[in-house]
């Protein structure tokens, strides 16, 4: 039975695991670099599912699914590059590259000018 496992059937399971693993990292870690890496790992999981679907069975691989993956990778790289630039920008403003939970300045009630 295990002999009949072709990569197209096997890898999507790995893709699903990568997606979940990335999601776990995205939720649990606070540092933005790690969160961006987590999103990228999630994306790789999705691409693995797509490419697995493309390669299933004995027919030649499906060029449409492969082309979609290529487009998806480019979109992911663009988003990553922008996210990194935004991280640096945020760090320059706050001195931290983490998203602090809790209220932000605009949500606080008091303001020096009010007194």
């Amino acid at each position: 039975m295990i002999e009949s496992l072709d990569p197209g059937t096997l890898y999507p399971f790995g893709g699903a695991a990568l997606f979940a693993l990335g999601l776990h990292g995205l939720i649990r870690r606070r540092h933005l670099i790690l969160r961006i890496l987590a999103v990228n790992i999630m994306g790789s999981g999705v691409f693995m599912v797509f490419l697995g679907i493309a390669a299933r069975g004995n027919a030649p691989p499906d060029p449409v699914a492969q082309a979609l993956t290529l487009t998806g990778i480019v979109v992911a790289v663009s988003a990553t590059a922008f996210a990194l630039a935004l991280t640096v920008h945020l760090a320059r403003l706050t001195g931290y590259a983490v998203l602090l939970p809790g209220p932000l300045q605009t949500h606080r009630d008091s303001h020096p000018d009010d007194r």
Binding site: F19, M42, G45, V75, L86, L93, L99
Partner: protein, 498 residues
């Protein structure tokens, strides 16, 4: 006998897509003239859009399908990417164009440094164009790219203010958007694996009630609900919407959130409607109710004007979520969602832009110190109030029409269902009433200082566009109550899976 030939409509659809991409591209290539490109291009785009609506309404009764479908590159689905233009899409394009035009005229006064304009205008046109392309797209993968274009430009616009809150809000917004998009893409991948097509209409014909469709629905709709800031995935909204530049806040609350609901509705109508079960209806109803109450309470205690308006978006999105359980029980009620999106979009854009005007004039937007400026700026207070009245749903406004339709659909849904579901439906109807009451409270909180006695001080200078555009949007929101019939006429011609 219709006068518009199918070719004209196909041309119009392609031209809408080309303009939605071409204007932002030109503005990006030549940001030194981007403001001019936007202020010339957007009105022309609206004229073209109105012409397309006319053509469409003229030709629609004679068409064998309720949508214009254009296979780009000359390739029909499933091989190519299809643009899908129907009544629903046209309605959303109109909303987008109206909010974007008002925002542009507003931004003309709001963004006043040359360097700021060069960064703002290309991104602003990308947001408008990206949303247009999203609405026009009829292909699951193509939707993923348009979602990313719209979110990336929105995030960059939020960060443009440059203060800590704005950049923090932008970062949260970006992460939630990326998560939502990836979830959507994984759902699309599963659908492609099962059915071998990506075109939404073809998927609708093939889809069954199997595990793939269920999982894909959970991933795609879950991702979109996250982007639409539905409770409990709403935490990012207030920061992002409140700290963005005012025209951007208007566009985000008025149109971007609505576009996510548009997409949920579109997917629901075409593919996922067979999945609707009472259990799902109860879940969505509870989420909507929770958003309504929680968002309103936050709006009641938020310290700043723009944050009040942003939390009000969370609450109003609760209303739209409440419409979904009703349309699970009573499928013909779906136009309610569009009415809500329209009424809320115009009214909320008006309120946020008016809040931006107040903020600019006063130099801040802390609720407890805005009295003097509000008392001196009647036009802006009128826009705040009129937009607010539509949000509350007082008779004759667009908000009233939307809520009336929602209640009517709720009662119709209750008529032909089980006793337990009748109880739930009754609860949702009560929630709609309660939500209006809470909305009244936070709207009054915004405008009440204007009517108290005290010092008057108009504050800093604001441009004419910043005074008149919120008012125009608010009047539009109110007038929706009268123009509802024509919207219904347009929505009749929408692709709905059999």
């Amino acid at each position: 006998m219709s006068t518009a030939s199918p070719d004209t409509l196909i041309f119009a659809t392609g031209a809408l897509a080309a303009v939605s991409l071409g204007l932002p591209l030109l503005a990006s290539a030549w940001p030194w003239q981007a403001r001019r490109i936007g202020l010339l291009g957007l009105p022309l785009a609206i004229l073209g859009l109105l012409a397309a609506v006319g053509l469409f309404l003229d030709a629609a009764p004679g068409m064998d399908a309720p949508a214009v479908r254009v296979g780009l590159g000359g390739w029909e689905a499933p091989l190519g990417v299809t643009l899908h233009l129907d009544g629903l899409a046209l309605a959303m394009l109109l909303l987008n164009a109206l909010v974007a035009l008002a925002g542009s005229l507003y931004a003309r006064g709001y963004i006043h440094t040359a360097a700021g304009e060069r960064q703002f205008w290309p991104l602003w046109l990308w947001l408008w164009g990206g949303l247009n392309l999203l609405v026009l797209s009829g292909d699951a993968f193509n939707l993923f790219i348009t979602l990313e274009i719209a979110s990336l430009s929105a995030v960059a616009l939020v960060a443009l203010t440059g203060d800590t809150d704005a950049v923090t809000g932008a970062m949260r917004y970006l992460l939630i958007n990326l998560l939502g998009s990836l979830s959507f893409l994984l759902g699309a991948a599963l659908l492609y694996g099962e059915f071998g097509v990506l075109d939404l209409q073809l998927l609708g014909e093939l889809a069954d009630d199997g595990p793939t469709v269920r999982m894909a629905a959970a991933l795609m709709l879950g991702g979109l609900l996250m982007k639409a800031a539905v409770f409990p995935l709403h935490v990012w909204l207030a920061t992002a919407h409140a700290s963005a530049p005012a025209p951007v806040s208007g566009m985000l609350s008025g149109m971007v959130v609505a576009a996510m609901f548009y997409l949920i509705l579109r997917l629901w109508l075409l593919i996922f409607a067979p999945l609707g079960t009472p259990a799902l209806a109860v879940l969505l109803g509870l989420l909507g109710s929770a958003a309504l109450v929680w968002g309103s309470l936050q709006a009641l205690r938020a310290p700043r004007l723009k944050i009040v308006a942003a939390y009000s978006t969370v609450a109003q999105m609760g209303y739209i979520t409440l419409a979904f359980p009703i349309l699970i029980l009573h499928p013909a009620a779906w136009p309610v969602v569009v009415f809500f999106a329209f009424a809320h979009g115009l009214a909320k854009a008006a309120v946020l832009m008016a809040a931006g005007t107040v903020q600019k004039a006063a130099g801040h937007d802390r609720m407890n110190a805005l009295g003097p400026v509000l008392r001196a700026r009647g036009r802006t207070v009128f826009a705040l109030g009129l937009g607010g009245i539509s949000l509350m749903g007082l008779p004759l406004t667009g908000g009233f029409l939307a809520k009336y339709l929602l209640l009517e659909a709720g009662l119709l849904a209750a008529a032909d269902t089980t006793t337990i579901m009748q109880v739930w439906t009754a609860l949702w109807v009560v929630m709609v009433a309660l939500g209006s009451l809470l909305a009244t409270a936070y709207i009054l909180r915004m405008v009440a200082p204007a009517f108290a006695a005290g010092e008057r001080n108009p504050g800093g200078h604001v441009s004419a566009g910043m005074e008149w555009m919120p008012l125009a949007l608010a009047v539009g929101a109110a007038a929706m109550g009268l123009a509802g019939a024509s919207l219904t006429g347009l929505l009749e011609h929408t692709t709905v899976a059999a």
